[in-house]
Symmetry: C2
Subunit: 120 residues, 2 copies
């Protein structure tokens, strides 16, 4: 799992981390702040943040003794690009398939009309 795209997908595969991202999308938070709603230790949250950081989804700056966590939205584009690429490809294929099926139906209809083969 060395490439960033894998790390991003893996990071978002965890519901707690997705929720953190959701909350961070509304503004920066400190670690304590982020941990509050979850029923796990602060250290567990710190680990989750490390996963998000390694994926490039968040950055942590230092501000006095706090370490505010900041969402980096650009990384989302990496995923969106990957997804859209293959989704579109698949959809184009469906379109072609539909066309082929339509042609087949046109070609074969004459021989089928003698039976009841045109039923859906």
């Amino acid at each position: 799992m060395t490439d960033q795209l894998s790390r991003v997908f893996a990071a978002l595969a965890d519901p707690t981390r997705r929720d953190m991202v959701a909350r961070l999308s509304e503004g920066d938070h400190t670690v304590n702040d982020l941990a509050a709603p979850y029923d796990v230790s602060l250290q567990a949250v710190s680990k989750h943040l490390k996963v998000l950081e390694d994926a490039g989804l968040v950055t942590r700056t230092r501000e006095a003794q706090r370490r505010p966590v900041h969402l980096e939205a650009e990384v989302f584009d990496l995923m969106t690009k990957w997804i859209e690429r293959y989704r579109q490809q698949a959809e184009e294929r469906f379109a072609r398939l539909d066309a082929v099926l339509a042609r087949m139906q046109d070609d074969d209809n004459p021989s089928y009309t003698e039976k009841e083969g045109t039923a859906s």
Copy 2:
């Protein structure tokens, strides 16, 4: 990891599985066919397909002794929706932040101009 979104993200966190999806976006394949390029056992590929199937990304139908694997592109929408929601939210926040910073600069400039605080 009970919810589908988690399963979809987790499924795509593996480079081999992403490559399978990429190839399936060009058309259906049999398991043997899919396994060919990878340097792993057929059973490992079968496991990967189970993960993709559990995520709802592919379906397998039976066709004689072959089991053609078919990509279900609709599930991508689940991810895209999630991603876009928070990306947009984050971007709107940036826009607001920019506006706030611009206002702050206007308000505070008079007091800062005495020092060299306006540096980037």
